[in-house]
C-alpha cells in the first residue's frame, strides 16, 4: 500500500478509537442549529432566509471546536517531533493529517446537514448546491484552522487564541460559502460564489500546508 494512504488510514483509525472526537462536533452542530429557531420567531420565512448563514457559522464553530486537540496528542507523545526530524516531506504529512481531520470532523457535518435543511426550512431541492459549497468551504476552513492550531501548539489554553487567529482569516470563506447557498435559495445562479470558493480551496490547499509545517518546525527549533 502507498505509505501516504497507509498514514491516512492510520490517522483515521486513531481518531476512530476516540469516537468522542467524531461525535462531539456533530452533536454541537445539531444543538447550535436547534437554538436558533428557539431564540427567534420560528416563522418559516425568516428562518429560511437565515438558514445559509446559520449553517455556515455553525459548521465553522464545529470545526473550531476540534482544532485545539488537532496536533496536541502528537505533540505530547513526541510523534510530531519525529515528523519534523523525518526526511519525508512534512508538508505532505500535514496535508494528509488535515485531510483525516476533515474526514473525521467535517464529513459527518455534511452528512448531517440535510437534517438542518429541514429544521431551518431551507429549500430542499438546493441541498446539492449547499453540500458542494460546504465541501469546498469546510476543507479550506480545516486547513486555516490547522494553521491556528500549529501556531499555538506549545501554548496552554490555546483555544481562545486560535479563535482570534482563525476567525478573521476565515471570513472570505464564510462570505462566499453562505452566499452560494443564499443565491441558490433565491433561484439565482450560485456558480460565481462556488467558483470563488473553489479558488480559495486550491489556494489554501497549495499554500497553507507549507505555512503549517513552518509553524510546527518553530516549536522544535529553539
Amino acid at each position: 500500500m502507498n505509505p501516504w494512504l497507509f498514514f491516512f488510514r492510520t490517522e483515521l483509525g486513531v481518531s476512530w478509537r476516540e469516537r468522542r472526537r467524531v461525535m462531539l462536533p456533530l452533536v454541537f452542530f445539531a444543538i447550535v442549529a436547534f437554538l436558533f429557531p428557539l431564540t427567534m420567531n420560528p416563522k418559516a420565512g425568516l428562518l429560511a432566509r437565515m438558514a445559509p448563514g446559520i449553517i455556515w457559522v455553525d459548521a465553522m464553530l464545529a470545526i473550531f471546536l476540534g482544532l485545539e486537540s488537532l496536533f496536541r496528542h502528537d505533540h505530547e507523545e513526541g510523534i510530531l517531533e519525529q515528523w519534523v526530524l523525518s526526511p519525508t516531506s512534512l508538508e505532505l504529512r500535514v496535508l494528509f493529517k488535515v485531510a483525516s481531520f476533515w474526514t473525521v470532523t467535517s464529513l459527518p457535518l455534511l452528512l448531517m446537514s440535510p437534517l438542518l435543511v429541514l429544521w431551518l426550512s431551507f429549500p430542499v431541492q438546493e441541498l446539492g448546491i449547499l453540500l458542494v459549497g460546504l465541501f469546498l468551504g469546510t476543507v479550506t476552513l480545516c486547513f486555516l484552522g490547522a494553521l491556528g492550531a500549529a501556531l499555538t501548539l506549545t501554548l496552554r489554553q490555546s483555544s481562545m487564541l486560535i479563535a482570534v487567529l482563525f476567525l478573521p482569516i476565515a471570513t472570505p470563506i464564510l462570505i462566499f460559502g453562505a452566499h452560494s447557498a443564499i443565491l441558490a435559495a433565491r433561484d439565482l445562479d450560485p456558480r460565481p460564489a462556488l467558483y470563488l470558493l473553489a479558488t480559495l480551496f486550491f489556494l489554501t490547499v497549495g499554500i497553507v500546508p507549507k505555512a503549517i509545517s513552518a509553524a510546527l518546525r518553530i516549536s522544535y527549533e529553539t
Binding site: I175, F176, L200
Partner: protein, 245 residues
Amino acid sequence: MTLKTFLHRLGSPPYFYQISKPWGRAFAWIGLGLILVGLYGGLWLAPPDYQQGNGFRIMYVHVPSAWMSLFVFMVIAVASFIGLVWRMRLADAVAAASAPLGAAFTAVALVTGSLWGKPMWGTYWVWDARLTSELILFFLYLGIITLNRSFEDQKTGDKAAAILALIGAIDVPIVHYSVDWWQTLHQGSSFKGLTSEIAPSMLWPLLVMMAGFMFYYAWLVLWRTRSEILLREMDREWAQRVVEP
C-alpha cells in the same frame, strides 16, 4: 559608504540603536510640522463641501489613518519575510514594534469613520464593504500582537507572528475583495490613479496630512524598535551598557 554596506550594518542592533536616535528626532519634527500645516490647511483654509458642509473635514484624519492601517500591515509583512528568511533580528523587532501602531491607526480609522457616518449616513455603523474589511484588519492586528506576546521565548513569538502576518498579507486583499463582492454602500474611492475628483484646495492638505502621518509613524516605529531591540538583546554587553551606563 555604499547602500549595501549600510544595509549590512543596519542589521547590527547596536549600530541601529546608535543611528536611530537622530533619525527618529528628525522624523518627529518633520511629522509634527507636516501635520500642523495639514490641519491648518484642512480645518481653516479649505472651503466647506457643498454637500457635506464642514463634516467632510474629518477625512483629514480618517483617510491618512485608513491608509496607514494598510501601509503598516505591508511593513509588517515585509519585515516578517525578512525576519523569517534571513533571520535578521532587527526585522523581527520592527514587525513587533509596528503591530500595535497599525492596530491604533486602524482603530482611529474605524472611530472617525463611524463618527462621520452618523451625520452622513444617519447611523454609526453600516455593514459597508470598507468598514467591514477595516474591522477584519483590526482583528488580524490583534491576532498578530497577541501571538507575538504569548510565548515565553521571544524568538518563537516573533516567528509565529511572522507566519501569521504573511498569511494575513495574502488574506487582506482576499478579505477586501470578498467584502466588496458582498455589498457596498461606501462612496467610491476618490483617488483614481493619478487624477483626483477632489478640488485642489481640499486635496493638498490631505496629501500633506498623509505625508505627516508617514513621518509620525516612522518616528514611532523607530522609537518602539529601539526598546524592542533592548528587550531582545538584554543579555548582551552593549545593551547592558545602554541601560546602566
